[in-house]
Symmetry: C2
Subunit: 347 residues, 2 copies
């Protein structure tokens, strides 16, 4: 089959690789119907996250089951399914608690020896614990299929941030980061009943989507000016709940600055660097909490799926460029240069 392989920073190629096969009785082999490129894939692309030459890449995909191992009970060939960005056994203590990302048997697509989502097919370990079935009819609904693809990562990650930030009905929320996750954070906050949602971002295409998703205010400033603007919008106090969807020291500093005393920062941007962007003294004096991390999206899919199917939420606008598998290298370039927000792949 053909799949995306990362050879070195900025050297992403689509090439022939071995067809996936059932290796464990709990495996499924999946034909990929939709995949996409994630902001976090860019860290590998830019060389800021280490990869061994030849690793696969891509961790978000929807597909059709081609073959199921003898111990797979929940899926059969022909099933339409969505995969979260981490596989997990579904049986351990962590999976039972919903923290699927801490499953001792879990792993990331594209890690050494595993398939990535940006290819024609994927071997899925622990299929019963990992995959979630979708209605067959969705396969012929292009818009819906795109929306459902967001369940594999960005929508669940935005939801995790909103939960971490403590979004509840009536709260004021601020969102740092105008990428797909930040935008999904806006959507998740709206879904959880936030009264006011302040989106920080300077790219109008993105802030327009933020408004569509539920943002009531947009702050285009950055750094100290952004902090001042959010404080002005909130009577000087800051936001109860802040979603941090970037992961840099600057974004974390901004997040602390715009959080109301006693509020929480839900952080889902993969941290770059240590906690040096956190002024613990300020957080201490103002009782600001930090909650979040890598999102256990498998746990959230059953909760979010009905709303996506019903159309009450539609994250599909975060995908603004659609390409075929051969164009994946160009897709990375577009996202790296920020000419695309999030790239949809139709293999």
């Amino acid at each position: 089959m053909r799949a995306t392989v990362i050879h070195a920073p900025h050297d992403i190629r689509v090439q022939e690789v071995p067809d996936p096969t059932i290796q464990q009785p709990t495996d499924v082999v999946l034909r990929v119907l939709r995949a996409c490129i994630c902001g976090s894939d860019l860290w590998a692309y830019r060389g800021e996250a280490a990869r061994q030459p030849g690793q696969r890449i891509g961790h978000e995909f929807i597909g059709i089951v081609e073959e199921a191992g003898p111990e797979v009970s929940g899926f059969a060939p022909g099933d339409l399914v969505v995969a979260p960005f981490v596989w997990s056994d579904g049986t351990c203590e962590y999976c039972a608690e919903g923290l699927t990302t801490s499953c001792p048997q879990g792993g990331f697509w594209g890690s050494v020896g595993s398939d990535g989502g940006q290819g024609e097919a994927v071997r899925v370990p622990f299929a019963d614990g990992t995959l979630v079935k979708l209605p067959a009819a969705a396969a012929s609904d292009d818009r819906l299929l795109t929306a459902l693809l967001a369940l594999s990562d960005v929508l669940g990650t935005g939801h995790h941030a909103a939960i971490g930030a403590g979004v509840k009905p009536g709260t004021t929320v601020a969102v740092v980061g105008d990428g797909a996750v930040g935008l999904c954070g806006v959507m998740a906050a709206k879904r959880l009943g936030a009264e006011r949602i302040i989106a920080l971002g300077r790219h109008q295409v993105r802030t327009d989507i933020a408004r569509t998703f539920g943002a009531t205010d947009v702050v285009a400033e950055r750094g100290e000016a952004a902090v001042a603007a959010v404080r002005e919008l909130t009577g000087g106090a800051g936001a109860h709940a802040v979603i941090e969807a970037v992961g840099t020291e600057q974004s974390m500093r901004t997040a602390v600055g715009i959080t109301r005393d006693g509020g929480s920062i839900g952080y889902v941007g993969v941290p770059h660097g240590s906690g040096t962007g956190l002024d613990l003294g300020v957080m201490f004096d103002r009782n600001i909490a930090l909650r979040g991390g890598v999102a256990p999206v498998r746990t959230y899919i059953p909760e979010l799926l009905p709303d996506v199917l019903a159309g009450t939420i539609d994250p599909s606008p975060v995908f603004d460029l659609t390409i075929g598998l051969d164009e994946v290298p160009a897709g990375y370039k577009a996202m790296d240069e920020r000419t695309a927000l999030k790239v949809l792949i139709k293999p």
Copy 2:
């Protein structure tokens, strides 16, 4: 009157100062019955926290109301009361939410222009919002009075840490720090139903108190060895809830290391330095939350007071040295040299 004044690092004196008087109609003047020295007072004593020469010091006290301003409705001369370590107006939005430490009209005892607790008397601003009445009979019960004094800071701060750490019935808790706050954290965790409480500490006098307060295990190791020991005690996973009651980079690093994936660190040790002790990457991968800060103990007193009065909890053993007002400088020296855990002052 006589009160403790800090002139410079290591220069603490008990001297004559003006008698406090009613300055605002919401003030009360209090005769101090019991006060004490806090671990955080030592930061000023050591010069690690800046003070202007001549500032008063001490923020924990119980007293008898001598005079009440015309707008004070809740207190009258003769009332026995406990003061939390921050005064607050009791009427603002933050006070209504229970975050009394963020009251815009609030302040710390011993800040420039205000009285400190380590003296014969104190002017209490916003008395109705700040003070809590105690049963008059407690004044003649020496042990009980000492236990009640812990409500002014360490017991409420330990409780805040336990809440921040997410202690619930059945949880496994680990406590970093064997000072009075850490020990009260053990007590608070026990009170909230923790099943297992692991106290980290190497001073047997203190860990013996920890066991009395509810610790089921004691870990004497420090740093990486402490992390390994707690992990061994918890089947490799770490503790659901971790109380951080020190505030150094090393203690924060230990706290992260011993927290179970998906768990929380309740931090109440005043942070020294920034977040450089926090490995955000580790916290992110393991979904570890950080919650806490300066404890709004005024809010917790009504909840904790009945248990102290009933004797179901008794924090009085954290006070292991009793002195008169004149001996306060020696009391600081004893705590600085760790020959005393917490010093009780009877002016």
